[in-house]
Subunit: 474 residues, 2 copies
Amino acid sequence: MILRMPSRHLVILVVVALVAVERLFGAGQEPAGQTPGTLVIAGGTVITMDAGRRVLSPGAVATSGPDIVAIGPPDEIARAYPQARTIHAAGRVVLPGLINTHTHAPMVMYRGLADDLALKDWLEQYIFPAEAKTVAPAFVRTGTRLAALEMIKSGTTTFADMYYFEEEIARVTRRAGLRGVLGETIIGFPSPDAKTPAEALQRAAAFIKEFSGDSLITPAVAPHSMYLLEKEALLAARDLAIGNRVPLLIHLAETEGEVETSRRKHHASPVQFLESIGFWAPTTIAAHGVWVDDDDIATLAGRDVGVSHNPESNMKLASGTAPVPRYLAAGVAVGLGTDGAASNNDLDMFEAMRQAAFVHKLVSRDPRAMPAAAALEMATIGGARVLGMAGRIGSLEPGKRADLIVVRMDAVRQTPLYDPISHLVYVTRGDDVETTVVNGRVLMEGRRVTTLDEPAVLKEAQEMAEEVRKAVRR
Amino acid sequence: MILRMPSRHLVILVVVALVAVERLFGAGQEPAGQTPGTLVIAGGTVITMDAGRRVLSPGAVATSGPDIVAIGPPDEIARAYPQARTIHAAGRVVLPGLINTHTHAPMVMYRGLADDLALKDWLEQYIFPAEAKTVAPAFVRTGTRLAALEMIKSGTTTFADMYYFEEEIARVTRRAGLRGVLGETIIGFPSPDAKTPAEALQRAAAFIKEFSGDSLITPAVAPHSMYLLEKEALLAARDLAIGNRVPLLIHLAETEGEVETSRRKHHASPVQFLESIGFWAPTTIAAHGVWVDDDDIATLAGRDVGVSHNPESNMKLASGTAPVPRYLAAGVAVGLGTDGAASNNDLDMFEAMRQAAFVHKLVSRDPRAMPAAAALEMATIGGARVLGMAGRIGSLEPGKRADLIVVRMDAVRQTPLYDPISHLVYVTRGDDVETTVVNGRVLMEGRRVTTLDEPAVLKEAQEMAEEVRKAVRR
């Protein structure tokens, strides 16, 4: 489109737009990419989630640039890093930042738009029409800013995502300072950003190139599912992932209907169909994994496929319950995810932990089935394993990236305190997170987010919601 | 015990004690029992939960003394009550105070003490020893103050309770300004407050007498369960309830083990055994009701027994899931409860709503099984029906008591807002409650509780927790 506007007006417009964008990202924060200095988080109970599951109470964590450089008693760390900026965490719990292994960030724009419907009605009457009419780069940016704000405020430091215009999600994520494994979606029908799987694969290739080597963004390929893609597109997505050494993300065995469709069409379960075509990449992340049998679990274990368990979404959509204790027994890496906020309806990983601890007790009829520590493990080091990043994140250890959170433990509902791990899972909420650090950079301190302008992000989202309302009005 | 202390020291001690008690209950609040003046809650979305499920947006509620006197458009109410003190609720949601139909308030002192154990180990190694060594009047007062603080801060205005030293719970509850249906426990073994069921029944009779006619406290009788009491004690408890026209509270069909025991001993399910002995009173509140068949449901419906559904506790202890949709279809009144905080681990009724909405979708494999509105109904007017108080509380209507809460709706996780009822159930937490009013009295405004001194209550609980730690140390 050629603009016929007088150039003076155009200049003013551009300036206004730039100022608006600057506002959304907050004032006074350090620029994205700047190397953070030395930081010490001192005092508090440090839950490391390292191999020995060491808990230091009190403990301290020292970071330098993007890395953790030391963990130890507070006085020792203070002596070793006398010049460091210090965040005091006495009475708090310090733990690895939470890892959300499956979401669709911009779908926060659809949270609560429609609930409690049969899956078909929910999708066909609300989600698909809303997506067809609203998903565009500006929408994705607005939604991702809102999602990033929610994640930073609730202690998520890394998230895995599958959506459209993933390059927009990546740009916003990088600027917000979060770590992301972000997969451009390949899907078997015309989507908002690609008419065909081939076009989507081209977009994915360009996206991978743009973010190759980024310190925060791991680009990825996200073929939607085995039921919305043909074999050729699934294998092309795999080849793209393997050729570029990036993760491969897919929805897998989410509903019983998916299994029925697969058996009818391929005479195999979804897992066995993917096995038969040689779908797997070195890092494959399967979201949901609800409807699997022992053979499927053995296959996923043998192929080192990680599973993202999404207990809230699976309950809300009545999909079922992934057999997590059996996955863990078979050696499958399992992380937790929230799924998109349209089916949850938030991105709070504390709720995901609580729900995981609850639901496996219920379905196994054994209160020992999923202890609090196991839920916390899935939300931290387990999630890191799923994403193929256990060498870099998921626990507090010298040499790993400085992704950590400080959580308050003094609410009425957290009193008294006998066991911090029990409290993290059973009575703590995202709102209790006080400080969020990613890659050594402080994204939130004292509940104030430094990389996004909260009021501006909320206002922008409220305005965008008007478009969503129009899209589903009948 | 005779005190040999010099009288001067004794006087000082008494003064110090009185000051300490005063401190726990906060300074500057209106004395308990004082008639509140006229109050208007203006602006905001008023969700009445009346028979027509009227929602006024914006709306206003006027109260006079303990009663709601008018509900209507804000300008109309402002004209009618120009002198009233006004609480502004623009952008908020105003709804009936939440009703917790089953808890054991002082057990907040055991939250997170032990989790994720087989029921027998949890009870025998932790809860029973802790109760045997710590439950005493001072412990019950401390625990109830902590529980009352948590309930006020999370929007619960009425709770039903079963514990020991229930008169202490009642005194603290009245002073904190909450409404309670409080049942003195009758149990078949020596308990902290009674050696025998007969002694417990005497205590219950005295308790009922003390609180007869109280505007906030409804005294009740709480025979623990059909498996921990003989027929004679169950019927004596029933007679006490009927003779004094007070509610009868009991745990019923919570675990499969209870049903097996009942069938072995009585050749009948727990419900049919109670039916066979004519146990029911005009207001009977059965907690849990997980393991029931169609005959049991028909019996409960026919006897007007209300069921308290405790989804979180039933999941955490792996008890099972009450067949709530079938209860509702049969016309049984169903409310929500948290159970004691030892098995939850909090008293947040928003979490109870969310869990109810989630778990019934999962177990019925139908996302339509428990819509958000149905969960909200159980937490308000449904709970009022269970307690036999639907004429007084559970909805916002002129003539009912002024028990209401104002809830913020502007958190990041609540943005955007398409449907306030969806948000109340799926993304709201107790911490979002800004104002709590019971019987026309403001118990919390702007998150500041007026009837309890929060720091003093927390300190007292932390000190008491030391006794709990000692009690379970091995």
